[in-house]
């Protein structure tokens, strides 16, 4: 069944149809939440909240990009989560090894098909990118994740955050520039073809 039909069915209250849409989009939505929030538990909560909110408001979807519409909802959920965190800051539980020391890189989330070295390198790169993303302000982070991680064009990104194209262009350029500066500190983690000149 095509996406338009599933959306139509969901708009008529068909929860099964919406669950099929969830199955198609949950990775993207979770990625957006994780990249913006920077931690799995909050991302999980925000993703669930976003889908619940999306189902409740699906009648307000008037066509266009469903992906952008969903990303807008999850982005708003992320903003809510960030505001909540600011009000009640918590210390996330970091994974620990057998000796009880904190594990800096959560290697278990990597692809099990990779070699152990690749797995570690990939995980560390992902962590480095995430660390740089976390250094950005929320508004910059959201834009760079929307355009560079999710692959949205400027117009879609503008629709998601509800800002004009000029704002997207400006925030994205600054965010990239800060990411460039940040990633230079992790140059040894980058694949050779991606290493930045220092």
């Amino acid at each position: 069944m095509d996406e338009a039909q599933l959306i139509l069915d969901a708009q008529h209250g068909d929860l099964d149809a919406f669950n099929r849409l969830i199955l198609a989009y949950q990775d993207r939505v979770y990625n957006q939440a994780f990249r913006v929030l920077g931690e799995t538990q909050s991302a999980d909560d925000a993703t669930q909240e976003a889908f619940i909110s999306a189902y409740k408001n699906i009648r307000s979807f008037r066509g266009g990009s469903f992906r952008a519409w969903l990303l807008r909802i999850v982005t708003n959920a992320c903003y809510d989560e960030l505001r909540r965190k600011k009000r009640r800051p918590t210390t996330p539980l970091e994974p620990v090894d057998d000796a009880g020391d904190e594990i800096e890189s959560p290697h278990w989330i990597a692809d099990p098909g990779e070699s152990p070295e690749d797995k570690i390198a990939r995980a560390e790169l992902a962590e480095a990118i995430q660390a740089c993303l976390n250094q950005l302000t929320e508004d910059f982070r959201v834009v760079v994740v929307l355009v560079d991680v999710q692959g949205l064009d400027y117009l879609e990104a503008a629709q998601v955050i509800g800002k004009p194209l000029g704002t997207i262009k400006s925030r994205l350029a600054r965010a990239r520039n800060r990411m460039k500066e940040c990633l230079q500190g992790f140059w040894e983690l980058l694949p050779h073809s991606m290493r930045l000149d220092t």
């Binding site: 199955l23 990775d27 189902y55 409740k56 991680v149 064009d153 262009k169 990239r176 990411m179």
Partner: protein
Amino acid sequence: MSKLERNLETISAYLDGELTGHEREQIERLLQEDDNLREWYQELMRTRSVIRNTPALRAPRNYYLTPEMVGQKEQPPRAFPILRFASAFAALLLVLLFLGDYFIIPRTTMAPLMSVQIAESVQLEAEAPEVEAEVLASPPAPALSEPLMQEAPVEGEFAPEAAVEENISRSMDLDPTMGGGFPRQTPAPGEEVEDSFGAATEEMDEAELTSEPEASSKLLEEEVQRNIILRYYLRIAEFSLLVIVILTGLAAIYFFRRTGPP
């Protein structure tokens, strides 16, 4: 906004192909002329490439929604509107039946009963003179018969037994329709002459009074029976409708509470 910032924005948008034709020509010319800007452009391109190659995470679980999560009640069965309609329709029918039972049926069913009662009372009234006559005839008979019996042997030298037999035969002759009539059990010996015609007319009246009410009472009885049967069926119908109203109503309430309005 400084020139550097403006150039940064333009280069970033150039990387994404978001510039117009004129802006693109301008920035391409600048990139050819300015080595620092070109180096900056390359670094920005690599940064963009690194971010875009960020490994995509898979959702740690499925985010399927359940009806409880979205506050959605279970879908009511398709028969829900039928149940509601059936309940309302049965209730309406029940009310109509009660109204009909109360205002219409009693008149039609009570009328035959009343007419039967009237007929019975008429019959009793018709039988009353006969009873009275019997009551009146029997006790004074010996008193009246004595002189007659005494006179009879003198005048006609009739034996009392013969007179009685004659009277009986007369009375029987006078009442051919009754097939021999209804002979008196104890005819007074002195009464036979005076009372023979009167007795015959009384018996005729009695026959008329008894034959007509019997026929009409039979009809009435049949009608009463029919009404009783009708009433019986009405009670069954009312009871059945009541059961339907209660059951369908309860089912509708159950589904309404469980699933909410359809």
